[in-house]
Symmetry: C2
Subunit: 428 residues, 2 copies
């Protein structure tokens, strides 16, 4: 880990470049994706099948929809411990998101205008689930359950299968989460099928879920025709800890990001120089014989940062600059620190809430803003699958009161029919 001292004047200038992530899309990817989208748009299922057979080797002669029998078979081969854990997680995620459901609001203002807003669900949600080596059944729950709680009628999952095979626990999680359709397709072609629809796949209204560079670029290109969630970058964690924190626990928390990806960032912020030293040592111990040692060692070495601050209040300020995806407050009184936190995707309080609790069983979605985007965006929630329509209704009296100002502004803006739509009703 690189050590920075927040008490030096050059601190911010040293920190900022370390937080910057390469965000440019490689030119070749954008063009390749544009071509794939055009093919699927023009030739539908035929193009999806050609591309899927080429990239995934999955035979599409019977279509790509996963049958109820395949799902039942998948559930059968999962261990009951794994299924119980999925069920516990799903129950807690449902309970948390049910509290998020907002109520419609309506009132009459002082001049007699009916005002308010109504929330309605999107009809169809698309969920991209990556294939490949790292397969995360928990992400299926975290993406699909907020859509289900919001009331989306269709929840359509796409995921690439290597030669037709899918991870059984992913299918079991999809069943538990109320996914209504699953297709064994992936890549930009799957995003295209969800956005434009094909003969065998009805289009959806919004596409969520992480994917590789092609999937991300495809989501960017179909944005506008459908909604998308935010662009996910490498995972990150920031831990604010006091001198009493257990170095073993903190080391494990930092490594729990490093083990994801060589670009994953772990940041420790503390007023205790001794803690930094003990955590560094403990990281060395825990990396020894680690199942993903190579990735974790490179990530913590190149992307790891330890920041020494004068006190915990300053630590909160530094965390706001980092604007991390995950923020642990491993201190004696985390609730005293919480009001100082302005920018973070998810906050974990105290000594018994490692980020892994939030990854699986806490309740809030683990789909969170990365790469400092917690400055302006939020984690996935039921709001992502709802939209709000405003409601305005003037009584004759209210209209007579505010209509003339509307007509005046329409005149100022040079829009005569806007003005006429008011003045005609005013009887002028």
């Amino acid at each position: 880990m690189r050590l920075l001292d927040a008490r030096t004047p050059s601190f911010r200038d040293e920190l900022m470049p370390l937080l910057a992530r390469d965000e440019d899309t490689v030119g070749g990817i954008a063009a390749a994706v544009t071509d794939i989208l055009a093919q699927v748009r023009a030739r539908g299922d035929e193009a999806v099948r050609e591309l899927t057979e080429r990239f995934d080797g999955t035979d599409g002669s019977c279509g790509y929809r996963v049958s109820p029998e395949e799902i039942e078979e998948a559930v059968r081969v999962c261990s009951s411990e794994a299924l119980d854990a999925i069920d516990l997680a799903a129950g807690r995620i449902e309970a948390y998101h049910a509290r998020q459901l907002p109520e419609d609001v309506r009132w009459t203002d002082e001049i007699g205008t009916e005002l308010g807003w109504r929330w309605t669900a999107i009809d169809a949600a698309g969920l991209y689930v990556p294939g490949g080596t790292a397969v995360y059944p928990s992400s299926v729950l975290m993406n699909a359950l907020p859509a289900k709680i919001a009331g989306a009628e269709r929840i359509v999952m796409v995921t690439p299968a290597k030669e037709g095979r899918l991870n059984p626990l992913v299918l079991a999680a999809a069943k538990r989460a109320g996914v209504t359709e699953i297709y064994k397709i992936g890549g930009a072609q799957a995003v295209a099928a969800l956005a434009y629809g094909t003969k065998s796949i009805e289009p959806v209204d919004k596409i969520v879920g992480p994917g590789n560079a092609y999937v991300t670029e495809a989501k960017r290109q179909v944005f506008g025709r459908v909604g998308i969630d935010s662009i996910a970058g490498p995972s990150e964690i920031t831990v604010i800890a006091d001198e009493k924190a257990d170095p073993r626990a903190i080391a494990a928390d930092l490594l729990s990001q490093s083990e994801h990806d060589v670009l994953s960032q772990s940041v420790l912020i503390t007023p205790s120089r001794e803690l930094i030293e003990r955590v560094e040592k403990e990281i060395g111990v825990q990396l020894h014989g680690h199942h993903r040692e190579k990735i974790a060692r490179e990530a913590i070495g190149k992307q790891g940062i330890a920041v020494l601050t004068e006190d915990l209040a300053r630590a909160a300020e530094v965390a706001n600059i980092v604007a991390p995806e995950h923020l642990e407050l491993v201190t004696e009184d985390p609730d005293a620190l919480l009001p100082l936190i302005k920018h973070a995707g998810a906050v974990f309080l105290g000594r018994y809430t490692p980020e892994a609790i939030g990854d699986y069983v806490g309740g809030p979605s683990h789909v969170l803003p990365t790469s400092r985007s917690a400055r302006f965006s939020s984690g996935l929630s039921v709001y992502d699958f709802l939209k709000r329509m405003s409601v305005t209704g003037c009584s004759k009296k209210a209209f007579e009161k505010i209509g003339p100002a509307a007509a005046r502004l329409a005149d100022e803006e040079g829009l005569p029919s806007h003005a006429a739509s008011v003045t005609l009703r005013l009887g002028k």
Copy 2:
């Protein structure tokens, strides 16, 4: 207007192509924008100045920031009627959006986990205001006031000036709306300055507001580094009317979209064939001598649609297919129809609420989802300038209860440090 009959089996197939808008970005624009962004990123103020002098002819030798004296002078030259109308509109927009401010939520679940979420404001909002012939002071209020109510500290407005001159009412509206900085710059270079920052302009966290194809493409390209609002297309209105509706009023309402742009769409849905005929006639009358006749005539001719339905319930279904930006319910009992509406940006109830009320003085923002994106997105609101961080805090007991399931799922996903961060704390 094109006449469609919703009672025919081919209705949906006839309607859908009429709703489709050309959404592809012209290739040349994307490349030109990429180049402009790179220039501003590399050379900052110097590049902004070169580009602004070239495109707008606005001299940048004293910088582009609008001085307090310029703003005071602008307010002086506006008529008091116009300023009063701005003030009335601003007061109503503030009152509506103040009601939207959400509360933080916190609870303890049955096993002793602290759960909830907190809302915090973004630090700095950027607001793009188009220049050119059509200048809309109302849009300044509608974009800036939700940011102010949300609590953004900086509200930074950029707008291109032709040879240094800005519309006085735009400046007056900016002052009333609490805009904290105004720069006379526009185009992709202004978006780049807001996203990356320059020596004279601090970067912002989110950029909202409509613009031309270059501005829209620039927002798309900086998305991720900063937040953006949705991609705005041509404006649209759908009116559901019963047989008692006043054809003159309905004609004006339909034309109030047509006068914006030749691509603006106006849709009338009604069970009354007679109303359609009378509205058509009235449109002819109102177009005669219309200040923007050419635009309005082309728009209503090519993009106008009248749909005949068996009843009002079916009219609501058709409106849900259209998913319009603006929806008027000009019927005897609009509140009876409202629960059937699933997809719309803003709804206007009854005979005395023309859309122009919503454009200026209703209260809700007039920045709304276009091109059927009301299927998955909402109008601008305080939520666009707030973000929500989730909060999770386990007691030792709660942790012991749910920790094992988290460790189990971490094992299933092959993430040993995730599992270790739990088992270490469990004392295993």
